[in-house]
């Protein structure tokens, strides 16, 4: 029998003042699911970076456009969707920040961080316009086993 998947939602205007709110809510939800403080910190940072991208590159800081954040979870997994109303983007156009020519660029590390901290990350077009970033992190037997950041 499939486990119930509770959901929590947060909707914010496209203003950087609300980024910290998304971070705090994420930390609380991750703790509620049972992630330890360290893991909850990395998960909340991934969400923070996704929300910044949604505000900056997606909605282009248009306060009339909303960013929606949806958390669903079961005993072992948290799934977070960050959705904007922008024009979308092509992942192929995002440069690798680890390439020598990009190492000292002041921007372009957000998506890399998101991928580093989460187990799965998917980008898809949102029906009606915009982008959905869907991120999954599973609990580990002992938190900190896998991710680069935990080394």
């Amino acid at each position: 029998m499939q486990q119930r998947k509770p959901t929590v939602g947060l909707t914010i205007a496209s203003d950087f003042h609300f980024v910290e709110l998304a971070e705090i809510v994420t930390k609380h939800v991750a703790a509620l699911v049972g992630f330890d403080e360290d893991a909850a910190g990395w998960i909340s940072m991934a969400v923070r970076e996704a929300v910044i991208n949604a505000i900056k590159h997606g909605n282009k800081q248009d306060r009339n456009k909303l960013v929606e954040i949806e958390f669903s979870f079961n005993a072992d997994t948290i799934t977070i969707k960050v959705m904007d109303r922008g024009e979308g983007f092509d992942l192929a156009d995002v440069p690798n920040p680890l390439d020598p020519e990009n190492l000292l660029k002041p921007s372009g590390r957000g998506i890399f961080y998101i991928r580093s901290f989460m187990d799965e990350v998917h980008f898809s077009p949102r029906p009606g316009g915009g982008t959905i970033v869907s991120m999954v992190r599973r609990k580990r037997r002992k938190e900190g086993e896998k991710k680069d950041a935990d080394h």
Binding site: F16, H17, V19, E20, G41, M45, R48, E49, I52, P97, L98, L103, L104, K105, P106, S107, R109, G110, F112, Y113, S116, D148, A149, D150, H151
Partner: protein, 113 residues
């Protein structure tokens, strides 16, 4: 919110940073502080991260900007007392290979000589 306290030792400007270097206010404060120091001709900077609780990709970007700007003008920027999480952020983006980092202030100051 970021608090920046400035002191000088052995010809090096030390910035004791406290708080968050994140998109918006913290990053802007940091950028402005570096700009003012460079205007004053202070180009040997040691950033003390002991009381920095959080840095995001924007804050990392500001650090990289400060580093390259100072380097291009013959200056130096080094990092002191990096908390583990911030060190992790630098490590996974290969920036620990770029920045000189120290856990001991005296050793950091000696490295500028």
């Amino acid at each position: 919110m970021l608090t920046i306290k400035q002191r000088d030792a052995e010809g090096v400007t030390i910035l004791d940073l406290s708080g968050r270097i994140t998109i918006g206010q913290g990053s802007a404060q940091f950028r402005e502080a570096i700009r003012q120091l460079m205007e004053q001709g202070r180009n040997r900077l040691l950033l003390n991260f002991a009381d920095v609780s959080y840095v995001d990709s924007s804050g990392i970007g500001e650090l990289v900007s400060a580093y390259t700007t100072l380097n291009n003008q013959g200056g130096q920027l080094k990092l002191l007392n990096l908390p583990k999480r911030i060190k992790d952020l630098l490590r996974i983006t290969k920036l620990l290979t770029v920045f000189e980092t120290f856990d001991d202030e005296a050793a950091a100051l000696r490295s500028f000589q």
